[in-house]
Amino acid sequence: MRWGRDRLGGRGGAVLALLGSSVLPAPVLAHVGPGEVGGFLTGLGHPVSGLDHVLAMVAVGVWGAQLSAPAIWMLPVAFPMTMAVGGLLALLGLPLPAVEVGIALSAVALGGLVLGRVRPPLALALAIVGAFALFHGHAHGTELPAGESAVLYSLGFVISTGLLHAGGIAIGLVERWPVGHVLLRLAGLVVLLGGLYFLLRAVG
């Protein structure tokens, strides 16, 4: 009981300290740049606003998990860097042919690779993921709304893409269980079908 009372006393002290701190004067920061905050949030939300992009990003993580180390982390390291190269090309005004088709094809290919549990050499896996990342960066990395911070938009965009990969890796961890193999292959099929839908829309 004594322990309980002491603990309660500790909590009471903490509450008092919090209340006390709330009446202390604090500087008012009226300089928060709405454009800067908006830039980060816009960048963070941009990759998840397009289902084709989401499917491919998650599939990269799932495929990495299927391939296990070192691909499980090398693919998510390589993707943002080559994606940024794609964004750089777009910002420099260098065109990439059939960008939307490339993005849809990335979902088809990555879905197919997950479905078939394909295990190419690491260099080839990196080349495949890197090539598709160029299209994603070219299409999505450059859509900065007017008045927003380019740094924070880009930061949000890169972090969001990385988190989608992390989500894919987390899904891919079911690979360790026998039933997980089947589930992942089903997920690969879903990504492939989604990619086919976007491919038909891009071509049609």
């Binding site: 500087p27 920061l29 998510p76 390291v77 750089l88 380019a150 740094v151 880009s154």
Partner: protein, 208 residues
């Protein structure tokens, strides 16, 4: 001198020439000094905390030093804030507005790339990198503070903030034992390199 060596030297000179040209490209200066309401020392702290590129560059260099081990980390802890302070004093004394957004973006690409590749640099090289980075970043910081009418107290504030950020982040990274945690740091490095590349693009387009 052999022809091969001459060609190599020539190529290096061209690269350095291109980089020097990039640094000369005019860009809008942004002093972005906000008042903390708590005096010049905290104005200096706040100036650093609301400068994302400077903060990210600092964090990336610290991640690199942390991945390179304890000795490299110790050198970085000493060299970076000291060089920042010295560079800042030079910036204050020069009393001219200096803006090198290209340098910030390029340093993110290079440092982020080194972190992503987990390049094991010798402690001395890490120390030199930290000193060079700190000197240039401090120079920019000092120049920005001077143009905003602040003095050495604000610079001291930003230098102390640099010391604390480097110390805390280094302590976290150096103590990482699990392999997956080092991988997480490398992934963060790849994000920084990607950000730097995108920033280069924005700057070339005039939006940076």
């Amino acid at each position: 001198m052999s022809r091969r060596r001459e060609a190599c030297l020539d190529r290096r000179l061209r690269i350095f020439g291109s980089l020097a040209l990039l640094a000369l490209v005019p860009a809008a200066a942004r002093a972005h000094l906000a008042s903390s309401g708590m005096g010049p020392f905290y104005d200096g702290v706040l100036h650093l905390l609301i400068s994302p590129l400077e903060l990210l560059g600092l964090a990336t260099l610290t991640l690199l030093a942390g991945l390179c081990g304890r000795r490299a980390g110790r050198l970085a802890v000493l060299a970076l804030p000291a060089a920042w302070l010295v560079g800042g004093l030079v910036g204050l004394a020069l009393a001219v507005e200096i803006s090198l957004p290209w340098w910030s973006a390029l340093s993110l690409v290079v440092l982020g790339g080194l972190v992503a590749l987990d390049v094991d640099l010798a402690p001395g090289i890490v120390g030199c990198l930290a000193a060079a980075y700190g000197a240039v970043a401090g120079l920019l910081d000092g120049a920005a503070l001077e143009s905003a009418g602040e003095g050495w107290v604000a610079l001291l504030g930003s230098s102390v903030a640099v010391s604390l950020i480097v110390l805390l982040l280094l302590a976290a990274v150096v103590s990482l034992a699990a392999a997956w945690m080092r991988i997480a740091v490398r992934v963060a490095g790849s994000w920084m390199a990607a950000l730097g590349l995108l920033m280069l693009g924005w700057l070339m387009r005039g939006d940076g």
